[in-house]
Symmetry: C2
Subunit: 210 residues, 2 copies
């Protein structure tokens, strides 16, 4: 039986070198990401993948979200480089990577819509990844609505990835979340809050097939 | 088969009238509490209880926590009045209320320990209730350790009740949690964060039977 892992992260080489230039010291989850060789090293990835029979990965970018560490202009460039790199991987290794999920410069909603259409129409992205907040704003905010509209029109899915850092404290008397609670429990919470906001914004009434 | 509801809230009459005097406008969950007649009205409670066969309630105070709305001196008085009132209810209606859970003036840890001993030794409280944070501080903070020590010595349980208000925002770009997310998802999260902090503080190593 074929197993398709639909939420698997990778740094395409060109994106990775740009990322290391733009944000060499990115923190929280970024710190962890730099210590996972498989994210950037294709040989390591293939060795790991080969330990499973009939196993494929749908590719998407790891955290942190582009808008967290990049300026607006860099973000557009980074998203394009990520999507071009993903499409190249899918084209080169279709048996390993049947599809990829687009990355978008979400802090610039107009540019995000343009890149979404480019990624789907020209590069055959099968969806896009959004984070549970966009630079602190809920994804239900009106400026992101065109992205949901576009995906409903394509009849393609959206990947929702949790994102909060230790700076979202768990206790009012403390500045930072302690003991990794910000992601162990914080990420499922973040996802629930983001989904709830989509519900209350009426997205699932507006786009029942989404 | 007897059903014992071990986490059921009540306002003993004397506590309730003091509460309404001290905090007539308390917000968030307090607003909801004022609209549940059963919390203060014993006749309503008994009518509801009578719809279930062989049903008993272990009593504890509703939110908000005393330390959230009361000054230190008032808090001590309120906790005493609550515990005296609970003991009276248990003494008067033992078939309905087999036991009660003590309330403590938690913002004053020394006073809390004194009231804990009074409630258990003199009033036969079968545990005490703590909230997932004490005026914003984690319950794993050193000043609350004597409470855990006391309960371990008594071999009695602690009731952990979630507590956060809408002022714990879900999104950095917003001041307040929206659409009741602060309790629907926030309270389970708060409980998880509080439990995790107890684990990392070593409480379950120190008091394995707790």
């Amino acid at each position: 039986m074929r197993k398709i892992d639909v939420f698997n992260h990778i740094y395409p080489p060109a994106y990775h070198s740009r990322l290391m230039r733009v944000a060499p010291d990115y923190k929280d989850i970024g710190k962890r990401m730099r210590n996972i060789p498989m994210l950037a090293d294709l040989d390591v990835r293939f060795r790991v993948m080969d330990t499973f029979d009939d196993y494929q990965q749908v590719l998407s970018l790891p955290t942190p979200p582009i808008e967290v560490f990049a300026r607006r202009e860099d973000a557009i460039d980074l998203a394009q480089v990520a999507n071009d790199g993903m499409a190249e991987l899918v084209g080169k290794y279709p048996d390993r990577f049947p599809a990829f999920v687009a990355s978008l410069p979400l802090a610039d909603p107009d540019a995000a819509v343009r890149e979404l259409h480019r990624a789907v129409d020209q590069l055959d992205a099968r969806g896009f990844q959004i984070f549970s907040n966009i630079a602190g704003r809920p994804i239900s905010a009106p400026e992101f609505l065109p992205l949901f509209e576009a995906m409903a029109a394509y009849d393609l899915p959206i990947w929702l990835h949790p994102y909060r850092g230790a700076d979202m404290t768990d206790f009012k008397a403390e500045d930072r979340s302690q003991f990794e609670i910000w992601w162990t429990f914080g990420w499922p919470y973040d996802t629930s809050a983001a989904m709830a906001r989509l519900v209350f914004a009426g997205h699932f009434d507006r786009f029942p097939a989404l």
